[in-house]
Assembly symmetry: C2
Homo-oligomer: 373 residues x 2
């Protein structure tokens, strides 16, 4: 059985129920695939990483603004986007600002009108890579004038949903996300028309909060690695260490459940975050981040296969749910990503000059590959 | 105020209430200090590490048997002890067997009669360094004939109290100790006269279980590093990664509380576990273990100072409670360890030839030092 699916990304309902493979060779047209949370960095790392987005089967990439210094001006975000488009002309880059006290409602409105940004990323201070200029999630109210402009301009607020620890307090890497959830709920109550993504959610608590809020305006992204990892996997293995950290088996099960369910409130955002390997394997201060861009869509397909045995709802998770929420105006390439059965050996590293980056699950094999048609 | 305390280790009650320092220069006679859980390894590492026990202010060290292969014969334990005594003639080494199917009740009885061992260490299979030949803690019953000999011979059973994970199960590094506790309780119910140490306990649950059992025969050891660390400290910092892993703030608070309380059911066992630094700082498969022997007593004194502001009960924790439980027959050196206020800079590494070991809290300062009188 070799099902060749229709190439129209709008007509998924018609064939999504047929996305089973049952061991046969199969191809699946995934349409315009989306990774709604991508770090491509700057400098030589950016040159190396940006083209891997397409390699991993992703058409539309939502780009994180946590460079050093963070991106907070129209000039810089426009220049960054131009640079990325030069490196990867067929990838559609959706850009974001870094929520920061230097932003004004006027600047945000202007950036939106120009189409320079699709959203603004909010980092709690100190919780992850380059977040030292982040905000205090205990008090978002000073940003409400900006958020009100975002509501009007249909911009998305991308929340890194972790409460920062305080000295001698009870917040740890394990409960920081759960402790943040009341702030998410309050934000939605105060600004019900603000489009919010709880980024890279890692806990059953977070999934349940999104389901409880049950609004078209409040969704969550889920990474490839959090669909595979638990705490034991990063314990002693910095290659799997990221923020938020992978949690308990029950949390992973819930993430897999909502990803597989097709629920429109959840879609793929890899949080692919490359670091030079020498910054990952250290005795102290290992860099937080897992690099997945190179094999994004195959990683997630493997999770669907291993947990459900079929790919029903796969296209919803890696394409439709994100397109429905973000409604990107200009897709640069009309090519579709096609997933097909083909054993892929994950490379031990990708490198250019002195920079070496080790991908997630290096050395393992995946059962799926992608191509563009 | 410079209190010079009596040098008689039997008379602590008389002066322990005066063990406050309030910023003044002070000296404390700790008598015969004990670290009841020490890894000194074999080969060149053993040559480097063994003398650091005395450097760290410890007189009596209970030595772990998890060499490769593990120590399960009288011949090997005697040879190992002789080697250690040559390396550190003033340190008293209490030796142990590794609980293993090759042990027989007869062999254990003979080893006890010879004074070759003071106890037997039980490692659940696969939970930590060199534990691949360990036992299944879901079923201790096959070792009951050995345990019955141990009861008679007054040998101590040293339990690494973690339940091993199973594929797709809910046991993680975070709850493995709590999940083990029913097995501890059952063991004590079945063999109430068996002397048991729950080694390196890391959770409030474990402390509460020891308090609930409330027997002279069931105690727990606590490391220096677990009195300082929580999960966030080893997250991204393999130097602080050990098994069992440090847990939540509430767990650390309970460990500090019971250590400071003087409760006879808790005493110091460092689980000092040296690894070459290249095995700690890796991107995958970092060695589990924190090296503390070099500064053992000062590390713990610092915890007492920082949490309580005085050293009441310090001697109980690092000396008396262990001596009461183990009752070691032959102390090799009658010298006392004296703790005194003196700023100590923790070295960045200790080394010999190609071997480099990085101590816990390297580069930090401690307010206390030790000397021998």
């Amino acid at each position: 059985m070799n099902i060749r699916l229709p190439l129209n990304p709008q007509s998924t309902t018609a064939y999504s129920n047929n996305m089973s493979f049952s061991g046969s060779t199969t191809e699946f047209d995934l349409g315009i695939t989306c990774d709604m949370h991508v770090h491509v960095r700057d400098g030589a790392m950016c040159d190396l990483i940006t083209p891997t987005i397409k390699d991993g089967g992703v058409s539309v990439a939502y780009i994180m603004p946590n460079l050093q210094p963070p991106i907070t001006t129209i000039e810089r975000v426009v220049a960054y986007k131009a640079k990325l488009e030069k490196l990867a002309p067929e990838t559609t880059f959706l850009m974001s600002f870094y929520l920061h006290e230097s932003l004004t409602p006027e600047l945000v409105a202007e950036a939106a009108d120009l189409g320079a940004i699709q959203g603004i990323k909010c980092y709690p201070a100190g919780v992850t890579t380059n977040s030292n200029q982040g905000v205090d999630p205990n008090d978002f109210s000073k940003f409400y004038p900006i958020f009100k402009v975002m509501e009007k301009k249909n911009l998305v607020l991308n929340l890194h949903g972790e409460k920062p620890p305080v000295a001698d307090g009870d917040i740890t890497v394990l409960n920081a996300e759960a402790e943040f959830l009341p702030a998410l709920k309050k934000l939605h109550q105060d600004l019900p028309n603000l489009k919010i993504v709880l980024e890279h959610c890692t806990t059953a608590d977070a999934c349940e909060m999104i389901q409880e809020i049950n609004s078209d305006n409040v969704v969550a992204s889920i990474t490839a690695h959090h669909l595979s990892l638990i705490v034991d996997d990063w314990c002693g293995n910095p290659i799997n260490f990221c923020k938020p950290v992978a949690k308990l088996p029950k949390d992973k099960r819930k993430l897999v459940e909502v990803a597989l369910s097709g629920d429109k409130h959840f879609f793929f955002g890899s949080d692919s975050a490359p670091h030079p390997i020498e910054n990952k394997g250290k005795c102290c201060g290992c860099a937080a981040g897992v690099f997945t861009s190179k094999y994004c869509i195959p990683y997630v397909a493997q999770v669907f296969q291993d947990n459900q045995g079929d790919l029903i709802n796969f296209k919803k998770f890696v394409s439709e749910n994100a397109l429905t929420f973000y409604k990107p105006a200009n897709i640069k390439s009309k090519k579709h990503c096609v997933l097909y059965k083909n054993e892929v050996q994950i490379t031990n590293e990708i490198s250019q000059g002195d920079i070496k980056v080790v991908p997630f699950k290096f050395g393992d094999k995946l059962d799926w590959d992608t191509k563009w048609v």
